[in-house]
Amino acid sequence: MKTALNKPVLEYGSGFPTLLRKEIMRFYKVAFQTVAAPVLTAILYLMIFGHVLEGKEIYGRLSYTAFLIPGLVMMTVLQNAFSNTSSSLIQSKVTGNLVFVLLAPLSHFEFYAAYILAAVFRGIVVGLGVLFITAWYGLPSIEYPLWILTFAFLGAAILGSLGLIAGIWSDKYDQLAAFQNFFIMPATMLSGVFYSIHSLPPAWQVVSHFNPFFYMIDGFRYGFFGVSDISPWTSFAIVSAFFVVVSVIALRMLQKGYKLRH
């Protein structure tokens, strides 16, 4: 056998495409758990709330079911984007196989981009799954597809970044579960997925405006109906600013090697 040094000189490219592919393959290999299960959960929400609140109108013209579908789609996108990065990182840290990525000549930008794009991909795949399955309730109209894509991408990227931050920060599954159950879950459930904030008492309307998830859902819903609680441009500005903040935090953690390189 000829050994490595006798081989032709290698040409190196970026490791980013491989890391992205690996992160996508990781959830694809367990698609029942990562794709089918969240779609089913969203359908159950739709069946239960759609039935209980049948006849209720939102914005004076939308049936409750029509109002709910985009919210459920976006909630699914957000939760799955968070799950993808956070579960991948915590598993890799706990089992130790993150070392294979850390040994490679990947910059913190490449690391970040691969994990976030994989999270966005999973979020959107699962969101599309929910959208198509709910089609038999009647697909909602699509007034502004660009807003839909913009908020879906930004929302998934934000939650992917939060998942990355949580995955790096957590030393054990318990800490990650706390982050998910006491921050991500309440913030998504109280973001207007199930209601318009105009139906809330004034004090809670004010509180809702401090929840960045509200702007993701509201802007996303505007893309379907052309109507929302606040201007989509305001939502876009706030969501973009939040994306920059979480991205800078995540990139800084990666650059510093926080809890990764000691």
């Binding site: 490595a4 970026s14 290999k29 089992t95 070392v99 294979f100 850390l102 040994l103 490679a104």
Partner: protein
């Protein structure tokens, strides 16, 4: 010409624990080098600094002249590390694992070399098996394969034969020796001192974060030739090691 590994005044503390204390060392290209010491001596910390997994508090380290912090891309491309822990990604097969590892280094179309590594490490009939289904010895072989997949000129093996059977040990050393004969620099840590004695041309011994011995294997054995007290047989590296670690005079 650059040293294969250059370590200058490296210090690393973990809180009050001084893991490495002003360690300097140069390993030349093509050497088969042994890094020995008891548990907690600082061997894995030193390797982790070379691999970029740990950042030193002071000092610099370079692989083939590339600083492991400032020029991390070149440094990591020239280094293959076999980690001490038996770690693996449970989602993938052996071949997928190796292709991913190759891709992380930005190397595409590396299947011919991957096939050669698989054949040489007797992994051919497990290539399409999931990593979870492999025995400990087989997983260890995959770790070695992962370290070689980007064809690094410098290879560090951190206790690669811990817990593996005699057959694998022998085939692994044959393969590593062949890599060394072809010009690869090999750095080995092991608690099997007879392996180090047989394979390593030069040895450094670490104790409590400091290098307490650094010489050729032959010189170390000669220096400690009189150490054997029972008068039977010749001095081996274990005697040298015990003597140095117990504070014997160099």
């Amino acid at each position: 010409m650059h040293s294969a590994i250059s370590i200058k005044n490296i210090t690393k503390n973990y809180g009050a624990l001084k893991a490495l204390d002003n360690v300097s060392l140069a390993i030349e290209p093509g050497e088969f080098f042994g890094l020995l010491g008891p548990n907690g001596a600082g061997k894995t910390t030193l390797i982790s600094i070379l691999a970029g997994l740990v950042r030193p508090d002071q000092g610099h380290a370079a692989i083939m002249g590339a600083d492991v912090q400032r020029n991390f891309r070149d440094a990591r491309r020239m280094l293959g590390v076999v980690p001490q822990e038996l770690v693996f990604d449970p989602f993938f097969t052996v071949r997928e694992t190796l292709r991913f590892q190759s891709g992380y280094f930005g190397i595409r179309n590396n299947d011919a070399w991957i096939d050669e590594i698989i054949a040489n490490l007797d992994l051919a009939n497990k290539a399409d098996s999931n990593m979870r289904s492999l025995s400990g010895g087989m997983k260890r072989r995959v770790l070695v394969a992962q370290a070689l997949v980007h064809r690094p000129p410098v290879i560090i093996l951190d206790e690669p034969t811990a817990g593996v059977d005699v057959e694998l040990r022998q085939s692994l050393w044959q393969f590593i020796s062949r890599l060394n004969q072809d010009g690869h620099t090999i750095v080995l840590t092991t608690h099997y001192l007879e392996e180090a004695e047989a394979l390593c041309e030069r040895i450094a011994m670490l104790k409590q974060g400091e290098i307490v011995a650094l010489d050729t294997t032959a010189n170390l054995l000669t220096r400690y030739g009189s150490v054997k007290k029972d008068g039977e047989g010749k001095t081996d590296l274990e005697d040298v090691f015990v003597n140095i670690m117990s504070g014997g005079v160099l």
